[in-house]
């Protein structure tokens, strides 16, 4: 049996010839949606077989943005991979940094100072707010609300990106965290600016809710759309707001106790139906919870060092071993699996990207819906192709 053959039959590859099947009413129409289409959030293609307007088959095709990230990880040094992690999910570079730093710290057994942990929590929650705001805006864009909700979301996101830029030097490619701490210290002026931005977030979310939450068009197109059952979500490994919208209470911040999340009071919003509207609502509610965490963290942040004094920048060689660091990124569980053989670069560098795993159940959610709804269901998954293809 060659590797292309499985028990289920011969694997024909992603680019198999179009399958022409017939239904009672006539032939199926095979449509290739993407890769260059605004609704696909990047370069992503769906082979959709249509019976009239109804979807009877959907095959996601990835790989258009593949850039050998994991292979580079096995030839570059540990430090050199840090700026590359920014480019995985380029909306949330700081949570990517954190997940990678966490994996390497586990591998090398480094401790992170108190103040650095607080800075990480603050930056991760700011990242979550701006990601969810943008995700909701893009979902509205996919629904046909061209511009307004997205621009309101981006206006708010820009304030957070300004905070990132004044601290890390870059709006999106932050490259901020280091193994055993953070690169630069936050000033009191920055913390005050962050407090001001955080204080303005609830007003923005209320505005967004007034604009969208009870809008009849949004309700008609989102409620009962793309329903995901909890057991399928768990079996497929779906995480993040997608999983919580189905009603499964699983948030790594509560489950895994990484960082210092145990110290903060916050709740995990859960959905009930697992449809597009629940995913939208879970994201809105998560912004509120992030604001709660931020208020506590910004109040309690202690003074002190931000780097482990034993950490070194060059010539970093962890002992042989393996480590898996995972965090609750805005899109789900982001994990880095590293094996060290004692050299300057990892022997194996593997990423568990939430976007890719959440995308695998796309067909199950789309079957039976109209082709215009595929765009909405796909938009509600909230993916970034940089992370799907790596």
């Amino acid at each position: 049996m060659s590797f292309t053959e499985t028990k289920a039959g011969k694997f024909e590859g992603w680019n198999r010839p179009p399958v022409i099947e017939t239904s009672d009413d006539g032939e199926l129409l095979e449509v290739s949606m993407g890769p260059h289409h605004p609704s696909t959030h990047g370069v992503f293609r769906m082979d959709v077989a249509l019976d009239g307007e109804r979807v009877v088959k959907l095959k996601p095709v990835f790989g258009y943005l593949h850039r050998n990230h994991e292979q580079i990880g096995q030839t570059a040094s540990y430090l050199q991979m840090m700026p590359y992690t920014d480019r995985l999910d380029y909306f949330c570079s700081l949570t990517n940094n954190w997940a990678y730093a966490l994996a390497v710290e586990k591998l090398a057994g480094q401790a992170v100072p108190e103040r650095a942990e607080y800075i990480r929590v603050i930056l991760a929650e700011l990242t979550r707010i701006q990601n969810h705001a943008a995700a909701v805006g893009f979902l509205a864009q996919d629904l046909g609300a061209s511009g307004t909700p997205l621009m309101y979301a981006f206006r708010e996101r820009e304030k957070i990106l300004d905070l990132f830029e004044s601290l890390t030097g870059s709006r999106m490619m932050c490259n901020y965290m280091r193994f055993g701490g953070c690169r630069v210290d936050v000033s009191e002026a920055w913390l005050n600016a962050a407090r001001k931005v955080v204080a303005g977030v609830p007003r923005f979310v209320d505005e967004l809710e007034a604009l969208l939450s009870s809008n009849e068009i949004l309700l008609a197109r989102c409620q009962g759309m793309g329903v995901l059952k909890p057991d399928l979500a768990v079996n497929a490994g779906v995480t993040g707001p997608m999983l919580r919208a189905t009603g499964v209470n699983y948030d790594l911040r509560k489950v895994d106790h990484y960082g210092i999340y145990d110290r903060f009071q916050f709740r995990v919003p859960l959905g009930e139906h697992g449809d597009v509207y629940d995913r939208y609502m879970v994201r809105i509610l998560e912004i509120h919870e992030s604001v709660k965490i931020l208020e506590q963290a910004l109040k309690e942040i202690p003074a002190g060092p931000i780097m482990d004094p034993k950490a070194k920048l060059r010539g970093f060689k962890p002992k042989p071993g393996e480590a898996y660091g995972r965090i609750e990124a805005p899109k789900g569980e982001l994990g880095f699996y590293l094996i060290s053989d004692g050299g300057t670069s990892p022997y194996r560098y593997r990423i568990r990207p939430p976007s890719l795993v959440n995308l695998t159940i796309l067909e199950d959610m789309c079957l039976g819906h109209n082709v215009a709804d595929v765009v909405v269901i796909f938009g509600s998954v909230d993916i970034v192709l940089g992370e799907v293809d790596r």
Binding site: E165, S166, M173, L211, S214, N215, R314
Partner: protein, 217 residues
């Protein structure tokens, strides 16, 4: 009532629209390039080489140790060492880069070169209007294009540059102090030949050795 949610949303957009006439806070876009937002001090774009004094070639702080070339993740820095030597800021003879090119079409602005440089020689610029119609030569900057004065560095990152200057001045003072002590010891030795030999004047331990760049990491 059907349509209530729609009207509620429309009221929100109307509020924003009307508000943009009276509230400065709601006008968030600027008309680039006539108007610009000021860049934050930490802002970074592409690296440049710092020089002291008036002559860029004589004042380059870079000693061609090639650490940045090695640590650069996308490998966009190309360095060739010089055959001869020139004095650095403390007066010690050092190798200098005969060639120092950065391909900014490859550079990803991660500033790891700045972090690993032990000589404060390479820093991040804030210049971002670098569009050119020559995609090879126009984006490969040589050491003359990369060399920017310390005054320029002070102008774009004042806090950071002052810290760097203080650190360099401290190192220089330490080296001078040591040289003075060594000279005094030598004089004392000359005055009293029977006294035990004074330690030879050694360069400051803070100034790294020339061969450091060739060490395996």
């Amino acid at each position: 009532m059907l349509g209530e949610g729609l009207l509620k949303g429309l009221a929100e957009t109307a509020k924003n629209f009307a508000g943009s006439f009276v509230s400065k806070e709601r006008l968030i876009t600027v008309q680039y390039p006539e108007e610009r937002h000021p860049l934050p001090e930490a802002s970074r774009n592409f690296p440049f080489l710092v020089y002291d004094g008036a002559d860029w070639e004589a004042g380059l702080r870079c000693v061609a140790c090639q650490i940045c070339e090695k640590e650069c993740p996308p490998k966009c820095i190309y360095i060739e060492k010089s055959k001869d030597k020139k004095p650095d800021y403390v007066g010690k003879m050092q190798i200098y880069p005969a060639r120092f090119d950065i391909d900014i079409s490859v550079c990803m602005s991660c500033q790891i070169c700045v972090e690993v440089c032990p000589f404060e020689a390479i820093k991040m610029d804030t210049e971002f209007e670098l569009a050119t119609d020559d995609r090879f030569g126009g984006l490969l900057q040589d050491r003359k294009q990369l060399a920017k004065s310390n005054e320029y560095y002070h102008a774009i990152h004042p806090t950071e540059a002052s810290e760097v200057d203080a650190r360099l001045a401290e190192e220089k003072a330490k080296v001078e102090e040591k040289a003075r002590a060594a000279a005094a010891a030598a004089a004392a030795k000359a005055a009293a030949p029977a006294a035990p030999a004074a330690p030879a004047a050694t360069p400051s331990p803070a100034a790294p050795k020339e061969g450091e760049g060739s060490q395996p990491q």
